[in-house]
């Protein structure tokens, strides 16, 4: 788990001042489910990350903090704790390769190598065209179809290097 200090500084000025109306409506619907504001934070961050293209720049964090009436520092603290929230830009497509034991036993290392060869960038780097980034990941609960990886929100299972190349071709 990351224990790094949250980034500070003024929010950059850009298109979204706050959450767009649809996102706000979605969040309002979810907030009713909890007795506290704070409990809606994880759902709010999921929503914001979608709005901001897969990661949470400072302005997204500020917007969520304002929306839920929480201190931005508190929101940063939560963002840094969880693996699914990102504080730097990711590729248009995000690949997570499970390399935990069951996948390791069935060849996940080869999958990582194939991605490296095909994409020409290292782990957690974005391809120059902004198309893809990949990382190794912990068990994704699909060990019976090892080796496997998650491409955006879809599980790609029973992988081989050839299958990985084919999947990469399909990512625009």
């Amino acid at each position: 788990m990351s224990v790094s200090e949250p980034a500070t500084g003024a929010a950059p000025v850009s298109g979204h001042a706050g959450l767009p109306p649809e996102a706000k409506a979605e969040l309002d619907e979810i907030r009713r489910r909890y007795p506290t504001n704070e409990a809606a934070l994880l759902p709010a961050l999921h929503i914001a990350q979608k709005v901001w293209g897969g990661w949470l720049p400072d302005e997204a964090i500020q917007a969520v903090a304002r929306e839920l009436d929480l201190a931005p520092a508190k929101v940063y603290g939560v963002v840094t704790f969880y693996d699914l929230y990102h504080q730097k830009p990711v590729g248009r497509h995000r690949i997570r390769v499970c390399t935990n034991l069951s996948c390791q036993l069935r060849g996940s290392e080869e999958i990582m190598e194939t991605l490296h060869q095909e994409l020409g960038v290292g782990e957690d780097e974005v391809t120059p065209d902004g198309r893809v980034s990949y990382v190794h990941f912990e068990c994704l609960g699909s060990c019976d179809t090892a080796p496997m990886m998650m491409v955006d929100e879809t599980y790609q299972e029973n992988l081989t290097p050839d299958r990985v190349r084919q999947i990469l071709k399909g990512l625009k």
Partner: protein, 428 residues
Amino acid sequence: MPAFEPVLTRNVGKPEALTLKGYRQLGGYEALAKALKMEPDAIIEEVKKSGLRGRGGAGFSAGLKWSFIPKGKDKPKYLVCNADESEPGTFKDRLLMEYDPHQLIEGCAICCYAVHATTCYIYIRGEYTKAAAILERALKEAYEGGILGDSVMGSGFKLNMWVHRGAGAYICGEETGMLESLEGKRGQPRVKPPFPAVVGAFGSPTVINNVETLCNVPHIIERGADWFKAIGTDERNTGPKLYAISGHVERPGTYEYPIGVTFRELLEGCGGMYKGGNLKAFIPGGASAPILPAEHIDIKMDFDTVAKAGSMLGSAAVMVMDDKTCMVGSVARLAKFFNHESCGQCTPCREGTNWMELVLKRLEHGEGSEADKTLLLSVCNHIGGNSLCALGDAAIGPVKSLVERYPDEIDQHVREKRCPFPRRRYFS
């Protein structure tokens, strides 16, 4: 042994189970209807009598846990269903949610009625977007069909149920880490006591149960504790059980058996070893469980027998390894996992898991020394019993078993200054 009729997975492969109408045609929600006519305490008694033990890892009696919820009406009560399923090797709860979401909703509803909870959160790991969407759809239908909401099946009992998505952190599977996370915080486990049954979600009494545990409940209510108790090894190990089998087997997957099926039967059931290899070892209960060597092939896979053999049934995630597997490389990967997932609150766990990863990687790369065995054991002893939650103890399980059961393999790495298993590569 007469053929075992699946209980928990009986609707798997029947797409109609995904809809409320289809689930009801398959006999669904009859147990809930029956439960709503019973006294809540009688339900708790029945579940206690059934011997149902938690399927999330610790194996605690579900009925007993429910009975700890105070009876007073001054505070709301909650059920939090643990659908975090992040223990490496485990994928059984995903199957239950993706193929039979109403079975889980029904189990949760019966539990809520029994403990007077009026809100249930299903805390599902953030990566399970498909299962979450299926559950959301099923919940929507359940609200529209009067199964949830202001009057559950017309009984006047009010119940809300929501899906709450996590965001990628194994520690949120630990029950108090989960409560923190549900409340919108970093998922760092709480000091116990107070226990969640008294001070849980939002300061109120809370039951936390695993998905599979709750899926057993409708069947216990419908067919009775005596039926349930007749399945399994003995009165302490009862009921049907899902085993998630992965690694070097021909047909990995989730298999349902009476609890206490032998490992040999499990292996035969999934087509034997991958490409006809030889069994070297297996982990019976997820990454937290100590490794068992092949000589344990006839072990009964129930809570008490596996514990007696020096491991644990845990989540019954069975990881199988053939004789071309490097145990050092395997355990190094698990150590890397625990180091990544330690929440960092307790020094022994935070520092110790870091050390274990470092030393095991060094050994795997042929850069270790024989003294590293002593070092690993000493790190284990520092963590054991000195950490706030069970992650610390879980992290030392596989490492200790490596040093105690495979010392020669470690020495061989040191002597040859390389991993003697060239055929497979190990991530590090």
